[in-house]
């Protein structure tokens, strides 16, 4: 038992790495997803086709295959020297962008075109209308779906153990192997993921409640 008192803090410090992976992945995915959703709705046919292919690519390939493809294939072949952490964040981000674009796209479509029409009628450019009128509403609508994306990302991040990123799972495996007692370390790791998932959904819920638009029930 004494061994665990020493090892559990080692696993615990993996939380920082896991959160780094999640924050980086979600952040990159947010920017990519938002831009993509705008392109998917307001872009020309060529842009739509390219974005469709992107979404299809990243949603069809298992995450672990993507990680290996980029870490061992794409990045070395194109001369990028990314360490496992950076590579994992980029891949998680590119993939999350594909998923997030679908969340934002659905939200924008659910608004209908009348909001942008009203903005244009006031003399706003399309871009201003999207930025000031459409997105503030679409992002609110996106929050529940977005909370799912966070929960998925937390759990997916564990796969980066295959590249040796020092997140929770990688550290847990080391401890399990060193102590020859897998039960407690893996239970502990599982507990950490439960706490992270729960805390994240709590935070998103709080944001959702705080940004609620008075009087609008259900839809926004």
């Amino acid at each position: 038992m004494a061994a665990f008192a020493e090892f559990l803090p080692y696993i615990l410090s993996g939380v920082v790495w896991t959160l780094g992976l999640v924050a980086g992945g979600i952040g990159i995915g947010f920017v990519i997803g938002l831009l993509m959703s705008i392109g998917q709705i307001y872009g020309g046919e060529d842009i739509k086709a390219i974005l469709h292919a992107y979404v299809w690519f990243f949603r069809s390939i298992p995450l672990i295959v993507l990680l290996f493809l980029f870490y061992f294939g794409v990045f070395p072949a194109t001369g990028f020297k990314l360490d496992p952490l950076a590579c994992s964040i980029v891949v998680l981000g590119l993939r999350s962008g594909a998923y997030q674009s679908q969340i934002f796209r659905g939200a924008i479509l659910s608004l209908g075109d009348t909001q942008l029409l009203a903005a244009r009628a006031l003399g706003m450019s399309k871009l201003r209308g999207i930025f000031h009128i459409v997105l503030p509403q679409a992002l609110r609508i996106s929050l529940p779906g977005w909370s799912n994306e966070y929960a998925t990302m937390i759990k997916d991040s564990a796969i980066t153990f295959t590249l040796g990123v020092l997140e929770i799972l990688t550290r847990t495996r080391y401890v399990a192997m060193a102590t020859h007692q897998p039960l407690i370390p893996y239970f502990f790791a599982g507990g950490l993921f439960i706490v992270l998932t729960y805390a994240g959904s709590k935070i998103v819920n709080t944001v959702y409640e705080r940004t609620k638009i008075p009087g609008l029930v259900g839809r926004l």
């Binding site: 009348t114 909001q115 029409l117 009203a118 903005a119 244009r120 009628a121 006031l122 003399g123 706003m124 450019s125 201003r128 000031h132 009128i133 503030p136 509403q137 609110r140 638009i213 008075p214 009087g215 609008l216 029930v217 926004l220």
Partner: protein, 254 residues
């Protein structure tokens, strides 16, 4: 800016949707201070006409001039032209995430580049003009339909338009809320705010319109002073239309 100056000139407008000619050669003019009402059965091209006039929809053919400057055919900046045209939608189209005040002030800040407090003051003034100064802090979902439409009118007025377009502004309202919107519109008409109004409210048309244009099959079938078009039309379609409207109107009055 004397009376009699042409504010809006429309020449031979055409628009086809999916093989269906919605507008088939529409031409007319509105002078400063004039109020013109467009009537006609649904599907006759009234809404399409309004949207072609401020280029929310691009006409296939024809030209539109605003204060003597052509705005069709990529001449000039469309966004500039739209700033001068107040547009009131049937479904209000208020910005759901903004208070009544912000709904009115946002375009002032973003489009007209006014300072925040200036935009706020002007927005409050415009809300006062539609009798909603006390509800400035409310969100659209907290307002009744009639209040929403009045906010929408204030939002359009704040841009200081040279002409107002109303696209069936009372059609989405419960009957008991129509009056408050019409009252505001009448007041603005009496202030000689140049307006083009698509509506079936013949009471409104009778009391403030200089001319009724009756549309059918994408054309203006008949135009003239309200009483002449409503009571003494030579067209059978027009007679039938107003007979039905009159019956509805009386039922609501009773």
């Amino acid at each position: 800016m004397a009376d009699g100056e042409v504010v809006l000139k429309v020449e031979d407008l055409e628009k086809t949707y999916a093989g269906n000619k919605v507008l088939n050669g529409v031409s007319f003019e509105i002078d400063r201070g004039q109020i013109k009402v467009i009537c006609g059965p649904s599907g006759s091209g009234k809404s399409t006409l309004l949207r072609c006039l401020n280029l929310l929809t691009h006409p296939d053919k024809g030209r539109v001039w605003l204060e003597g400057k052509e705005i069709t055919h990529e001449v000039g900046d469309v966004n500039k032209a739209r700033q001068k045209i107040g547009f009131v939608f049937q479904e209000f189209n208020l910005f759901n995430h903004l208070t009544a005040l912000k709904n009115v002030s946002i375009a002032l800040e973003i489009v007209k580049k006014m300072k925040k407090d200036e935009a706020r003051d002007l927005a409050l003034k415009e809300l006062g003009r539609v009798n909603l100064a006390d509800d400035a802090h409310k969100y659209p979902a907290e307002l009744s339909g009639g209040q929403k439409q009045r906010v929408a009118i204030a939002r359009a007025l704040a841009m200081n338009p040279v002409i107002m377009f109303y696209d069936e502004p009372t059609s989405a309202l419960d009957p008991h809320l129509i009056g408050e919107v019409l009252d505001v519109m009448k007041k603005l008409a009496q202030e000689k705010l140049t307006s083009l109004v698509v509506t079936h409210e013949i009471g409104f048309a009778r009391s403030v319109a200089d001319e009724i244009m009756f549309m059918g099959d994408g054309k203006i079938l008949e135009r003239g002073p309200p009483n002449q078009v409503i009571e003494n039309s030579k067209h059978e379609v027009v007679q039938k239309f107003f007979k039905r409207i009159n019956e509805l109107y009386r039922r609501n009055e009773a």
